[in-house]
């Protein structure tokens, strides 16, 4: 088992009332799964993803990730945990504009204090694997959306995470680019990477092995 959420609640206080963003979420994810989270706008998909990714806190409930109880961890340990095991892919790619493709890939490794030679090897490996060696010295603005997302995924994968969290990874792409990205996810999943994606698209959801539907913060 990779992670387990037990009775997770998250709310915000507004005008003396609690507005629930997440309500009693129970979820167990095994290694190697490919899960799609679906639901209308405002149903809490992204919030759930952020909670799983430990970017966002929750107000009640338990969260176990591998052997660790996330709800008991200090901020520092939590960030160490996600740094090591989780990679993020964003709808807007969120590449760093000032850095080249190669340097974008290298960034997480720098934060994880890998040595220079190791970093070089890992980046070269990743460029090779994604077939973007020729683009390594370009800046994000010089790439198409699909290519940027490719880099985004490569960057998420570079430190060998156990889990990839993708928030509408194809949301800004045309259908052909989107399909390519989804094929890539499928392929990664086949190689053993656990993936949780948020999507609006039924078609994309079908790439996954399991679909979770959310409505008003509840799993249905």
């Amino acid at each position: 088992m990779l992670l387990q959420l037990n009775n997770i609640f998250k709310w915000v206080q507004s005008g003396g009332q609690r507005i629930f963003l997440l309500k009693d979420i129970n979820l167990e994810v095994q290694e190697g799964e490919f899960i799609s989270i679906m639901g209308p706008s405002g149903s809490g998909k992204s919030t759930l993803l952020n909670v799983i990714g430990m970017l966002d806190a929750f107000d009640e409930g338990e969260y176990h990730f591998l052997e660790d109880s996330v709800h008991d961890l200090k901020e520092k340990h939590r960030s160490n945990l996600y740094k090591e095991y989780i990679g993020f892919v964003f709808q807007q790619y969120h590449l760093l504009d000032d850095l080249t493709v190669q340097e974008n890939l290298e960034m997480p490794l720098i934060y994880k204090k890998f040595k220079g030679s190791e970093r070089k090897a890992m980046v070269a490996d990743m460029l090779d694997r994604f077939n973007i060696v020729g683009k390594k010295d370009l800046f994000p603005s010089q790439l198409s959306g699909g290519q940027q997302q490719l880099v985004g995924i490569a960057r998420a994968l570079i430190s060998n995470p156990k889990l990839i969290l993708a928030d509408e990874p194809t949301g800004n792409l045309n259908s052909k680019q989107g399909e390519e990205i989804m094929d890539l996810f499928k392929q990664l999943n086949d190689e053993g990477v656990t993936i949780i994606q948020v999507t609006h698209s039924e078609k994309n959801a079908e790439y996954g092995s399991r679909i979770i539907n959310l409505l008003d913060g509840r799993m249905i």
Binding site: Q92, L99, M107, P108, I110, Y111, G116
Partner: protein, 816 residues
């Protein structure tokens, strides 16, 4: 890893060229000011700091009360050193340094040819204690040969090279130098050359005679001459206060002996004080006209200026960094999710700040050179901007780190508080605009407060200077040229009385309106004394009166007004007085007319008052007008006041003619003229320098503040693009939007004016207190300063406001 950080920093700086430029330029100005002022201050504090025994060395100075005024003389009566040596213990060295100057010095070459070097100062008579206290290195010759031979002279390396430019130091030995004093001629043989002491130093003697033991008269104990210096090195365990008291006891004892012997009733009081050597350079209270001194308050003021300017530049950086956080929020958020922790992010940002300040430091090299060039009148010549490269490098690194921490810490802390989720959730920029007072606004108010203090000060200083130079001084100084007969010629009987023949010759020149002999109105070469007026049957009124010797055309030449009575009559000996209004009041006469015919004067020579003139300034505006009396006495007239014709294009020719006439009577090279209005302006040289300095500081402060304001305006306009777009869609006019964007700055500047005005008022009031005649600080000065600041600020922000206001709202809303 560092390399990667550096690359990304440089790209970031490159992409934000405007802000990089504003920040680097602003900080470079700040750093330049800091370095320049640091150089000045460290120079002033470096006097004699290489002496290992500096802490134990004191100079004996003499305090005295004269005319009921306390004053200090940098010298000590000659025999005091003997008194100390004979009667007191506890001194390591007692070191007399009796300096004299010579009219001319001649060097005799082997062939017998003589070369003259003109007037030479700082030639000191010393004994062996001098060389024991100070670490002189003998390049050639030795101490023994010096003190064995009374006709010997020891030169410093500098003066040896001056007198014998072509000789090696060894060859200088045994050469003859002839010193021409005012009274006697002294031939001397060079017996040694010593290396100069490390500069700068309080010990500035250029050559040494050996001081012989002299038995002094009792009255020399009461004579103090600034050129007779006395240094003491105390024993480590000695207490300077106790030493002072002991010396004073000796001095008072001798003074009493002198009083008893001479039966003098002369009222005066004197005492000595020990001035630590390290304070000597800052002893502005001790009158020593020919020595440049530094004033500690001025140095502290300069340090304050440096700090404030640097602070202004750092504030710019802080403000622009904070304002650009929303723009960078995405980057920060991504870095966080990629695993960047707080320390890494802070380090990255501090590194960026460090690099910006380091680049600024490099740019400052250029600005410093420019600054030294601009201020070369004010900065002492011995200070060069980059004489110590290593020191500069250390300074650059230190100040870059200092700036990185001062300007970078707060923004970097803010950066770590950026919430990644918020950034991603609203892919657009979320800019919380607070309507209350945030840090940025506080900092802008602070900046403009400083700028306004400087603006106000520079207006007030400028006004006071103008007032000092241009207001009515009671006499007309226009087109007046002064020519004085040099003292040594004056003393020479050969030229006795020649000034009157020259006077007649000059009067006949067509380019000259009038000539008068006498001491110029504003000139402290007068004598003063206690004058008495005794009304019948009443006790006499005694007043300190300034006496000026003038001739009969003086009053007319200077446009002085005779309020009562008549002008002086021609006379070889003093016969009568013309006094000023203040003297009329001082002696209690009811009116100028009332004063006529009354007898005033020193006890034994009372003379009648025949006329009263209006008050005029006799010193600078720091001093009030004192009671004054004109007197005619031919033998004391040695200054020509020449009123040139109104047509200034003739002046050059007229001056030539005057010079020609002059050389018929006096040696040609003794002709030195000065325009009176220029020499009056020179009285205020320090004030002019202060004005230059404050004006420059004002410009810098305004420049930096405006750069900050500009950067902020750019960012604000950027952050409010959406708001502006919406307002425009809703029908707001361009004017309305420009007003909206400019309005908040007006409030800030008004606030700054409220803070700045009392501060500026306080400091300027203090400064003006020194003047006896001064301008009033009026409210409109502050209003003008405020308007200047406001105009500059609006000019700065309005370009951005207009740009934002005329932008196409469709575009701004879409890109949002």
């Amino acid at each position: 890893m560092l390399k990667k950080y550096l690359i990304s920093t440089f790209r970031h700086l490159q992409q934000n060229k405007l802000f990089t430029f504003l920040n680097i330029f602003g900080l470079a100005i700040g750093i330049s000011v800091c370095w320049s002022i640091y150089r000045i201050v460290s120079y002033e504090y470096s006097y004699d700091n290489t002496l290992t025994n500096r802490e134990e060395i004191y100079r004996v100075i003499t305090g005295y009360v004269f005319d009921e005024k306390e004053d200090y003389n940098g010298g000590a009566s000659k025999p005091i050193y003997q008194g100390i040596r004979e009667q007191l213990d506890g001194f390591e060295h007692v070191v007399p340094v009796f300096e004299s100057s010579f009219q001319n010095v001649e060097v005799v070459s082997k062939s017998g040819a003589k070369t003259s070097f003109g007037e030479q100062e700082h030639i000191a008579s010393v004994d062996s204690a001098y060389f024991k206290m100070l670490p002189y290195r003998w390049l050639v010759g030795s101490e023994n040969s010096f003190f064995d031979n009374p006709n010997s002279v020891v030169l410093t390396e500098t003066s040896a090279k001056q007198y014998f430019p072509d000789s090696k130091l060894e060859e200088v030995l045994d050469k003859e130098i002839i010193y021409y004093g005012y009274r006697d001629t002294i031939p001397k043989i060079v017996v040694g050359v010593v290396a100069d002491l490390e500069k700068p130093s309080d010990f500035g003697s250029t050559a040494f005679f050996s001081l012989e033991y002299t038995v002094y008269d009792l009255n020399t104990w009461t004579n103090t001459n600034a050129s007779d210096r006395l240094y003491l090195q105390l024993k480590k365990e000695s207490n300077p206060d106790a030493a002072t008291a002991q010396i004073n006891t000796v001095l008072q004892q001798k003074t009493k002996e002198w009083r008893d012997q001479s039966k003098s009733t002369f009222k005066f009081r004197h005492w000595i004080e020990l001035m630590p050597l390290k304070e000597a350079h800052f002893s502005t209270h001790v009158g020593e006209g020919n020595i440049r001194k530094a004033s500690k308050p001025v140095l502290f003021g300069l340090l304050g200026i440096a700090l404030f300017i640097l602070l202004l530049a750092c504030i710019n950086y802080i403000n622009m960094s904070i304002a650009s956080i929303p723009k960078r929020a995405k980057e920060i958020g991504v870095r966080k999710t990629l695993g960047g922790n707080k320390t890494q992010l802070i380090f990255h940002f501090l590194l960026e700040t460090f690099i910006v300040s380091f680049l600024a430091a490099i740019l400052s090299v250029l600005l410093i050179k420019m600054g030294f060039w601009l201020l070369n009148d004010i900065i002492p010549k011995e200070i060069s901007p980059f004489s110590k490269i290593l020191e500069f490098v250390v300074f650059i690194l230190a100040i870059s780190i200092f700036i990185a921490l001062l300007a970078g810490l707060y923004p970097s802390w803010l950066i770590t508080r950026v919430n990644a989720i918020n950034v991603f959730r609203n892919s657009s920029l979320r800019t919380k605009r607070s309507h209350g007072f945030n840090l940025q606004k506080v900092l802008i108010v602070f900046q403009f407060t400083i700028a306004l203090v400087f603006i106000t000060s520079s207006i007030i200083i400028g006004k006071q200077l103008h007032y000092s130079l241009k207001s009515d001084m009671g006499f007309n100084k226009d087109a007046v040229v002064l020519v004085g007969i040099p003292f040594k010629i004056w003393l020479n009987d050969k030229y006795n009385g020649k000034q009157f023949s020259l006077y007649d010759e000059l009067k006949s020149l067509s380019g000259i309106q009038e000539v008068s002999l006498g001491i110029a109105p504003m000139e402290d070469g007068y004598s003063s004394g206690q004058y008495e007026y005794a009304e019948d049957g009443k006790s006499p009124i005694s007043r300190q009166v300034v006496k000026k010797w003038v001739d009969t055309s003086y009053i007319h030449l200077y446009d002085l007004k005779l309020l009562a009575g008549r002008n002086l009559h021609v006379s070889d000996t003093p016969k009568e007085y013309v006094i000023n209004e203040t003297a009329v009041k001082a002696f209690g006469f009811d009116s100028p007319h009332d004063a006529l015919g009354k007898f005033i004067g020193q006890k034994d020579e009372k003379l009648p008052i025949v006329g009263v003139v209006n008050d005029f300034h006799m010193l600078d505006f720091y001093s009030s007008i004192d009671p004054m009396a004109f007197q005619m006495e031919n033998r004391n007239l040695r200054n020509f006041n020449i009123k040139l014709s109104k047509n200034s294009s003739e002046w050059a020719t007229t001056l030539k003619e005057i010079e020609e006439k002059w050389s018929q009577f006096y040696p040609a090279d003794s002709f030195e003229h000065s325009f009176y209005d220029e020499s009056i302006a020179q009285l205020y040289e320090q004030e002019q320098q202060l004005a230059t300095l404050i004006n420059l500081t004002t410009i810098i402060a305004i420049l930096i503040s405006c750069m900050g304001l500009f950067g902020l305006a750019v960012l604000t306009a950027f952050q409010r693009t959406k708001e502006i777009g919406i307002r425009k869609v809703l029908g707001s006019s361009v004017n309305g939007i420009v007003g909206l964007l400019s309005k908040e700055y007006i409030v800030l500047i008004v606030l700054a004016l409220i803070f700045a005005s009392p501060i500026a008022w306080y400091f300027m009031d203090q400064w003006l207190q020194k003047f006896a005649y001064k301008i009033e600080i009026e409210w409109w000065i502050f209003a003008v300063a405020g308007c200047i600041a406001l105009a500059i600020a609006l000019l700065t922000v309005s370009s951005q406001a207009i740009k934002a206001a005329i932008a196409d709202p469709v575009k701004s809303l879409r890109t949002e």
